[in-house]
């Protein structure tokens, strides 16, 4: 399969402090690829290097098989970007934002007008074409930013935390749009710290922390490889429940805050045991990406 992004030993230091430490990435065409990581993991730094606006300290980076150091212009012409922080042009309306942006790509006026109509319809903003940016909600701004990233009909769309700070409706709507893009054959690269988002959208993902890639694979494969298939969560500071769980040999317990997680291959016996005592409140569920994430990145709080 043809790969769209190839990184080897990609490294970035800021004033002697490492933000990205020698990562290798191969992102195949036509897939949705996720970068999952806590705050400060180095996600944005990695994306900025892909754009050619942040020169790597060392390592090799090719996008569309072109070296980023010398072909940034050409690469960006074929790529769309949704940045972590909105940077829509506040001096212009919704449609004007797309028009101005299209001009930076040198798109001819007639083609651009047609494209703007299409894009506004795609992100359900056709009726807001003449609204100033300041009057848009957070979700609308995000959708407009996505439309803006598509103005040059990119092969690769890079999205840095596309749904952070949005309500569930807005988030679902954006997920739907991203799936449509993926179905239309575009390669998507997105960063997120929402497990649900990664699980729903990504064909493949890497988990990143402290500038390193800790694991790579499809969401299902990652769960299979890194945690036991079943989890029992016991909430509350219940010493008896803990004692009960930690007494069982065929599993692993971990405590986070006031919740106790019990990971096991087969939870039947434990569930039966817990059900005998009505005072226990517990949740029995299949393991998911969050368990992998917490296992790999640790439980400590990030800034």
């Amino acid at each position: 399969m043809k790969s769209v992004i190839e990184a080897r030993g990609l490294t970035k230091y800021f004033d002697g402090r490492a933000a990205v430490r020698g990562i290798d990435l191969t992102i195949p065409a036509g897939r949705c690829f996720g970068v999952l990581g806590p705050n400060g993991a180095g996600k944005t730094t990695t994306l900025r290097m892909l754009l050619g606006v942040s020169p790597p300290t060392s390592g090799e980076l090719k996008v569309f098989d072109l070296p980023i150091t010398s072909a940034g212009r050409e690469i960006r012409a074929r790529m769309g970007v949704v940045p972590q922080l909105d940077n829509l042009d506040p001096d212009f309306t919704v449609a004007e934002n797309l028009r101005i942006y299209g001009r930076y790509f040198g798109i001819a006026p007639v083609a651009l007008n047609a494209r703007i109509r299409e894009l506004l319809a795609f992100v359900n903003l056709a009726d807001r074409a003449d609204s100033p940016i300041a009057t848009l909600s957070g979700g609308m701004k995000r959708r407009l930013t996505i439309a803006r990233a598509l103005v040059n009909e990119p092969e690769l769309v890079v999205l840095d935390e596309p749904t952070t700070g949005l309500d569930p409706q807005a988030r679902h709507m954006i997920w739907g749009k991203l799936r449509e893009l993926r179905a239309a054959g575009k390669t998507l690269l997105l960063t997120t710290h929402y497990m649900e988002e990664a699980e729903r959208l990504c064909d493949e993902l890497v988990i990143m922390d402290h500038g390193k890639i800790l694991a790579q694979g499809s969401p299902k494969a990652l769960v299979r490889a890194h945690v036991e298939p079943e989890v029992i969560e016991v909430r509350g500071d219940d010493a008896r429940a803990r004692a009960l769980l930690s007494g069982i040999r065929d599993g692993r317990t971990e405590a986070v805050g006031d919740t106790c997680y019990f990971y096991t291959r087969d939870a039947r016996a434990v569930v039966a045991g817990l059900e005998k005592s009505p005072e226990f409140t517990f949740l029995h569920r299949p393991a998911n990406l969050e368990d992998v994430f917490l296992r790999l990145t640790g439980r400590d709080l990030r800034d």
Partner: protein, 260 residues
């Protein structure tokens, strides 16, 4: 230097940035034009007529003409400086407009070239309005005064480049006050806008020759008064050297700031 930093960078891309600014300006056309007209009008009417009554002639021209030509040059300086500092900083830092542009095929050089061209364009616009006001007040003596427009554009380029250097270092708007107070205001007072440089003490007369505004005034004044212009090549060279050198320095500094 000229070859590396300047000429190859003015492509369609710089035009896109320039056009963006033109479109914003058009939106605020009326208020910005009012400001453009208002300030020089006050200067010319207040100082030109008021002082002119006592002064009469200065350097073989009515004081109103003398002052109008000084104001033409200094407003080109102020307009371009303001644009290259406050407006560019706004787009670079709080609005993150440049971050958005840098995700397109444009490069930092294209953005800066567009900004410098736009700043000079604003100098041209403000110059044209002042010239109209001055002409209406009878201060313009010859059609050769139209040549001041390209001179003001060049003056704009020169101060836009210098302003961009300040912007490269700015961490907030307050920073620009230093440059305004320590550089622009003294230049405004010492460059022959209100009185001829020849009335300054001898050593100072020599020293002020390094100020670009002096050369802009020396070009503009005879053009407005209908007198022959002297040392054209020398005056133009000073402005061109300032423009090219300041742009080159600013481009290096701002690239270093944005491409991290």
């Amino acid at each position: 230097m000229l070859h590396i930093f300047w000429l190859p960078r003015f492509r369609y891309a710089a035009g896109a940035v320039w056009r963006r600014n033109v479109l914003v300006w058009r939106k605020f056309f009326t208020p910005s034009l009012l400001i453009n007209f208002g300030e020089p009008f006050l200067y010319l009417l207040g100082l030109g007529y008021g002082l002119g009554l006592f002064i009469g002639e200065m350097m073989d021209m009515p004081y109103l003409t003398f002052l109008a030509s000084g104001i033409l040059a200094s407003s080109a300086m102020n307009t371009a400086s303001f644009e290259a500092m406050y407006s560019v900083y706004t787009r670079m830092v709080p609005q993150r407009t440049y971050d958005a542009i840098m995700a397109t095929p444009l490069e930092v050089h294209d953005i800066l070239a567009g900004e410098v061209l736009w700043s000079a364009t604003k100098s041209l616009i403000s110059g044209a309005t002042i010239l109209l006001v001055a002409a209406a007040l009878g201060a313009v003596h010859s059609w050769q005064a139209l040549w001041v427009l390209p001179v003001l554009f060049l003056t704009g380029l020169c101060f836009a480049g210098l302003g961009l250097i300040m912007t490269a270092f700015a961490q907030g708007y307050d920073f620009f006050n230093y440059y305004m107070t320590l550089v622009l205001t003294p230049m405004f007072i010492l460059s022959g806008v209100f009185y001829p440089v020849s009335s300054l003490p001898d050593p100072l007369q020599v020293a002020v020759q390094i100020l670009p505004l002096v050369h802009a005034v020396d070009l503009v004044r005879p053009l407005v008064a209908g007198q022959p212009v002297t040392n054209v090549l020398m005056h133009l060279s000073v402005l061109v050297v300032y423009s090219v050198a300041s742009y080159a320095i600013a481009a290096v500094l701002i690239r270093r700031r944005l491409l991290i």
